[in-house]
Amino acid sequence: MVSLVIKGMKSREVNRKLKEILPIEKEILIEHPDSIHNFATALKGVGKIIVKGSTGYYTGGFLEGPTLIVQGNTGMYTGDNMMKGEIIIEKNTGSNVGPSMIGGTIVVKGHSGSWAGYGMKGGNLIICGNAGMWTGKMMLGGRIVVLGSVGMGTGDSIYNGVIHTLDQDVGEKLGSNVQVIPISEEEKKEVRKLLSLYGLDQNIRFEDLKSVVPKVYGRHEYVLFKPMHLGR
């Protein structure tokens, strides 16, 4: 394991250094992150990066492969467009965690702000605490698990994918084009398996989980106006 003190360094400089080191050292310890923005963006390959502290906006954006463990909080847009790998946040995250993410898994052990999983296309997003408003807004695929409570407008304008939550009042907090259905046995197994990977399956009543899914799947058809045919 190699240790890196990045205090005072610019995002571009840090990311360049990570790209250089990751193929050689498979484990990197970051000290004094100073809430740096754009940390570990567009990072490819295999390896583990452990951050002793908090990071800022766009942490792990476009991440493709590595495991990123932040032992503090992260800012807005964590895991933006993430493709593969893992981001584990030991404390809280800001709004828009995992927007448009395509694959991989994000685990937030604390709470999350609003718009978690906005436009998410694939992968898994686990929030152990509470999520803010509009969780999974315009989601196109993937799975969100919220073990705490959700805010208003949950699943608003969702196209595809599923949001599981232990919040028993989720039915009163839904956005448009979503409904709450009981969780299926198969889904229960999948969620249990997913949570067990991160040691989060203890003391969870899986039968209490509710699924938020679209009322109408896929692209919706809207007829805005009918053009007049002025044929001769």
Partner: protein, 303 residues
């Protein structure tokens, strides 16, 4: 982007220090200007006026002296890149409180001067750059006020100028200050309506309109603070979140689209913190869970 922050301390707290630290944590949201207003527990009426480059302060002093005795000073010239050297006139005035509105309006009517604060409790500090620049130019330690609000600016709607920086005050209702994050899309319509009602504007910043709008509702239409904020939410168009403060209260307003963030944290009815991001609260309280304000919401906290 802009960032806003605020705090009510019911126990003795160095508000100047903590608010500056909070704004420093928000510096990534805008580095064009940083400003804050603190409500002190004092009796004197204080004034601070920015004087345009090359202008003399004698006519200003003459005008103020017609309202009462002055104990004043003039600060050194501060040079701002591409704008020029501004001077700041600060004074304590022994005058009637009821005449503050009139004096404020008369000073602002002169294009060479711009009042930053004039009142019995209010004290405004603003400067270009981030909070570290503010710290460099003002001694903000040991300002034990009751409450305060602050702002970091990313100039989008109007020019970069010290007089266009937040917090904005209104001559109509002395001691009212606002900080704003967002854009008002019906600014010119509302400005025309207010101007027709006799309101005098100083800048082309949409945030100034918020201050005048609320002040107008409270002073001329005799609405209370909450009703004035509710009317502003109904009348304003665009995306906006703002904090408004008076001598006794701080109010937060968020539009129904809720694009611009605002979080608040309450600690045992002793401490209330507001901010655009949770990270700005860390200098005051580490690892807290701040609540987000609902879309289309108004909340008011009393000092």
């Amino acid at each position: 982007m802009c960032g806003i922050a605020g705090m009510i301390a019911k126990e003795k707290l160095d508000l100047g220090y903590f608010l500056t630290e909070m704004l420093y944590q928000l510096r990534h949201r805008g580095k064009d200007a940083t400003g804050l207003v603190i409500y002190e527990d004092r009796k004197d009426i204080e004034i601070k006026v920015a004087i345009n480059p090359g202008e003399d302060y004698k006519s200003l002093e003459l005008l103020i002296s017609t309202y009462g005795k002055i104990y004043g000073k003039i600060s050194n010239v501060r040079n701002y890149l591409s704008i020029g050297g501004y001077t700041f006139y600060e004074a304590t005035i022994d005058m009637e409180y009821q005449k503050i509105t009139e004096l404020h309006k008369r000073i602002d009517a002169n294009p060479c001067f711009c009042v930053h604060h004039l009142g019995q409790k209010v004290k405004v500090f603003k400067d270009t750059g981030d909070a570290s620049d503010l710290r460099k130019h003002y001694d903000l330690h040991g300002l034990y006020g009751t409450h305060g609000i602050g702002h970091v600016r990313l100039a989008t709607e109007s020019i970069e100028n010290i007089n266009f920086a937040h917090p904005f005050v209104s001559y109509i209702y002395p001691e009212l200050a606002i900080v704003h994050n967002g854009q008002l899309t019906n600014y010119f319509n509302l400005r025309r309506k207010l101007e027709n009602a006799g309101v005098q504007f100083k800048t082309y910043n949409d945030s100034e309109l918020i201050a005048h709008f609320i002040a107008y509702q409270m002073k001329e239409r005799k609405k209370d603070f909450e009703e004035a904020l509710r009317l502003s939410l109904e009348s304003f168009d665009g995306v906006f979140t703002f904090l408004a403060s008076t001598n006794e209260q701080i109010g937060a307003v968020r539009d129904k689209l809720a694009i611009k963030p605002i979080l608040f944290y309450e600690y045992e009815e002793k401490l209330y913190i507001f901010g655009s991001e949770q990270t700005c609260m860390t200098p005051v309280r580490d690892d807290i869970y701040a609540m987000e304000m609902a879309p289309g919401g108004i909340r008011i906290w009393s000092v």
